[in-house]
């Protein structure tokens, strides 16, 4: 099975707002973030706060490491069989993520935030060694 990632240059023109939510939402599709969530986000002494379905959330804007870009992929046609080739389209890009915790100020103990460490370590481990 081969996975093709396809993109046209338009996808890189717009940058989207990505929110990492602290709960699983059993749905895959569009959400009216700009209507319900974005206008209610507040910035204060404890960072960002918002209420989602009555739950108090604490958030933090996380910039992706330099030279990295986030991409949003969409599969328009689901594969019919397991070994069929798959086509994923880049529909949007992002440079930062709004990371949310439920009633807990985001910090380095959060797996998602800590996972960013790997980027520097991977760089050190896997970048080609220069001959001297």
């Amino acid at each position: 099975m081969v996975i093709h990632v396809k993109c046209n240059s338009n996808a890189f023109k717009s940058e989207s707002n990505v929110h990492y939510m602290p709960c699983k939402i059993n749905f895959d599709g569009n959400a009216t973030v700009s209507k319900y969530l974005q206008p209610c986000v507040k910035s204060g002494s404890t960072g960002l706060t918002v209420s989602f379905r009555g739950h108090p959330l604490n958030g933090k804007e996380i910039n992706l490491p330099t030279n990295y870009k986030g991409i949003v992929l969409q599969e328009r046609v689901k594969p019919l069989t397991e070994d069929a080739d798959r086509n994923l389209h880049v529909v949007n890009t992002f440079k930062s993520i709004t990371y949310w915790n439920w009633d807990k100020i985001p910090n380095h103990d959060d797996a998602f935030i800590a996972a960013m460490d790997w980027i520097d370590i991977a760089e050190a481990l896997h970048s080609p060694v220069q001959d001297e």
Partner: protein, 310 residues
Amino acid sequence: MDINENIEHIVKSNVDLEKCLTNRDSKDNITFGSGVKFSDPCIVGIDEAGRGPVLGPMVYGLCYYPLGKESIFNDLGCADSKTLTDEKRKDIFQKMCSDDVGWIVEALSPTFISNNMLLRSKYSLNQIAQDSTVGLLNKIISMGINIAEVYVDTVGPPEKYQDKLKSIFPEFKIVVAKKADSLYPVVSAASICAKVSRDTALTTWVFTEDFEVSLEEIGSGYPNDPVTKKFLKGNFDKIFGFPQLVRFSWSTADKILEDESFCTEWEDVEEGASEKTPNILGFFKKDPRKKEHTKHEFFKKRKLMNTENL
């Protein structure tokens, strides 16, 4: 009479009240009052409005005036606040914005109520109610009001609540009673402040969300009001639920969410439930999992793994 520095917003009329409730972030709590001060010992009444509704703030009203000046209430005519029309209540509220009687109100936003009831460690509605009552008393104490007697209306068992308040304020005579608003004119007056503030908060509500709903469409906020029911059903989003006007933690709202929204799964907060004490014999057994190739702690902690499939 001097303007008080302890109250953020001084309200001197129905118009002031509307202004003060409109020009703010409706997701936040707000405290406002008349700022009136007395040097003589005062009688204090406290009542709430809007505990039942699924929409809008829950409001605590506190009214105070010097002992022995009860006669002013004969002129106000607020003996039984529950039987009054909205207009009549507004009328009395306007009269209460004089220097003969003082009052202070705290409106607790629906977002504040839902958020507190949905914390990792829950904060009950009764505790919220008690904290607001104690907060209002402390506010007028810091204004220099000399409190002698306090009358409080309650929906729960009065004895326990009365003991609790007495332990916080042992120096005052405190009476907690059911239906105190029809027994004590000072509580009745407090109830008018609370009720008028709650009604005004609902009619001046500013949606933070990108929402266009006329305020007649929201109804009274009571769960059995057909207009409110229609508003809840009609302005429902399968992902976000409702706008911040709604108390998500109320059973009416919660039921619609449960039945009609996309299900959400939150982190389990019950501590220690998953970790059983291991059986001592288990230490001598071979652990089949140990043979598997396990990832380094670094990756486990960060929930990083290789992906071969999408």
